[in-house]
């Protein structure tokens, strides 16, 4: 989209401020998720407190950005793409905050898993892989938000299926472990929570990508299948 400036320089800088803070918040959440996955892999308790502490920063970002958005709406009555930016950003912020919650959930499960004596389940690599995929999706979604790139956002949305496939694979393997040795059931259930949290993180990344499309093209692609998404965006182009 062309970036001509507003008559009001202050308005320009307010909008820019919102956008850059969302990207900063995204960076913090990304690091938080990486740390959570690391906790799961290694059982490193230092990093567990790091994830919990980061949660406070993420919450502060959320409150701060919401406040900025409310001020812009009250003072500027944004229209068209400015309005869509404010709406899209507010939703993205909610997604980022939820991702932070999922990261916390992962560390809680990691603690239980690592504190438990008994048979381990050798699925670290698989869970890690899906975690890395989810983080990569988030990083790309933030990048698409920074560059306001709807084409990249579309690719991110279509690749969300990969994480879902990984999740189902992990689930199948866990079922096999549980059937073979019921003593693994507690740990298996906790790993399911971790895998599910990762899958949710992927969903939130996809939501952010959907907001990028909304901001740029004005089309709402949520709850639409691939086909409808295409035609909706064609129409908006």
């Amino acid at each position: 989209m062309p970036h001509s400036e507003h008559f009001s320089k202050q308005y320009d800088s307010d909008l820019e401020d919102v956008r850059s803070r969302v990207l900063q918040m995204g960076g913090v959440v990304e690091a938080q998720i990486l740390a959570a996955i690391e906790c799961f892999s290694s059982g490193d308790t230092e990093r567990m407190t790091e994830v919990t502490d980061t949660e406070l920063r993420v919450n502060a970002y959320e409150v701060d950005i919401d406040d900025l958005c409310v001020h812009i709406v009250a003072r500027r009555q944004p229209a068209a793409r400015d309005l869509r930016l404010i709406m899209g950003v507010s939703k993205a912020v909610t997604d980022l905050e939820r991702m932070g919650d999922e990261a916390e959930k992962i560390t809680r499960m990691a603690r239980l898993i690592h504190e438990r004596k008994g048979p381990q389940i050798p699925l670290q690599a698989e869970v890690r892989r899906s975690g890395d995929l989810a983080v990569a999706q988030l990083r790309r979604a933030l990048d698409a938000m920074a560059r306001l790139d709807p084409d990249e956002a579309e690719r991110i949305i279509s690749e969300d299926a990969l994480i879902d496939t990984e999740f189902r694979g992990i689930l199948r393997q866990l079922i096999t472990f549980m059937m073979e040795d019921p003593r693994t059931i507690s740990t298996a259930l906790e790993i399911i929570w971790v895998a599910k949290a990762i899958e949710r993180i992927g969903d939130h990344a996809k939501n952010i990508a959907e907001q990028v499309i909304y901001i740029v093209r004005g089309t709402d692609v949520r709850h639409t299948g691939k086909e409808r998404r295409r035609s909706a965006t064609d129409e908006g182009a």
Partner: protein
């Protein structure tokens, strides 16, 4: 967006401007305007100063006829009878019976409240007291002014507040039961409360008339209108549902204007 918008083809038209040009002498102020006016809807005209909003509005009641040298090309057809109201054979007085204009500054006549509203009826030959009283009350009620003035109908209109005077002008315009109401920046001289009451009134009035409103206040256009037309230097740049214009305009020029950017 909240409600699904009906298909434009299914909406009844009240008027249609087709290839409308307008000249003040040699100066062309309107260029090939094609624009539908949907029945019992509010259409807002927005655009930078001098783009031709007032000029366009004044074509509808043939106000330009008052000055020699002004010239129309193209047509504005009025429905349902599909008469071209710009046609030389059409009497401007006849046209003005079907459309009423409300101006920026309240302009009551130096008469009583009652006589201001009765004026258009008297011009049309209505003189029976009972009928006048009935029509005046109905118009004042429609303009949301009745309760405030019912005990002082014989007061001079100038004694009313600015907002009341504007509602009186609306009552005066409504008394003759026009098919289209034309508003040229009707609230620019009013405070926010009086403005809100006029906006509320406009929303109520569209149950009975078609409304065309020029406004410099973009939020006002967004609040009161169903359709918005963005004009720029005599041309119609974009016309569409107000929601679409304010959320997802198609034209980059429209977007620049409504978001307050350099075009």
């Amino acid at each position: 967006m909240a409600e699904p918008k009906p298909d434009l083809d299914t909406l009844p038209l009240k008027a249609q401007a087709s290839a409308l040009d307008f000249y003040y002498g040699d100066f062309q102020a309107l260029k090939k305007i094609d624009m539908p006016i949907y029945e019992k809807r509010v259409t807002a005209l927005i655009g930078p100063s001098g783009c031709g909003k007032s000029t366009f509005l004044r074509c509808f009641n043939r106000m330009h006829d008052l000055y020699p040298g002004n010239r129309y090309v193209g047509e504005i057809s009025l429905h349902p009878d599909n008469v071209n109201l710009l046609d030389k054979s059409v009497d401007p007085i006849e046209v003005r019976m079907r459309l009423s204009m409300v101006f920026q500054k309240p302009n009551p006549f130096p008469k009583t409240i009652f006589e201001n509203v009765a004026y258009g009826l008297r011009v049309r030959g209505v003189n029976r007291r009972a009928i006048l009283e009935e029509k005046v009350e109905e118009a004042l009620r429609a303009a949301a002014l009745w309760n405030e003035v019912k005990d002082r109908l014989q007061d001079m209109a100038f004694n009313l507040s600015g907002g009341q005077q504007q509602r009186l002008c609306i009552a005066r315009a409504l008394a003759t039961e026009p098919e289209i109401l034309l508003f040229d920046e009707p609230t620019s001289a009013l405070d926010p409360i009086a403005t809100a009451s006029i906006e509320e009134l406009i929303t109520e009035l569209k149950q009975r008339v078609t409304i065309l409103i020029v406004t410099h206040n973009m939020q006002q256009a967004a609040r009161v209108s169903d359709f918005t037309a963005y004009m720029y230097i005599g041309e119609l740049v974009e016309f569409g549902w107000t929601d679409d214009i304010f959320i997802k305009p198609k034209n980059p020029q429209t977007e620049a204007y409504i978001t307050g950017r350099f075009g």
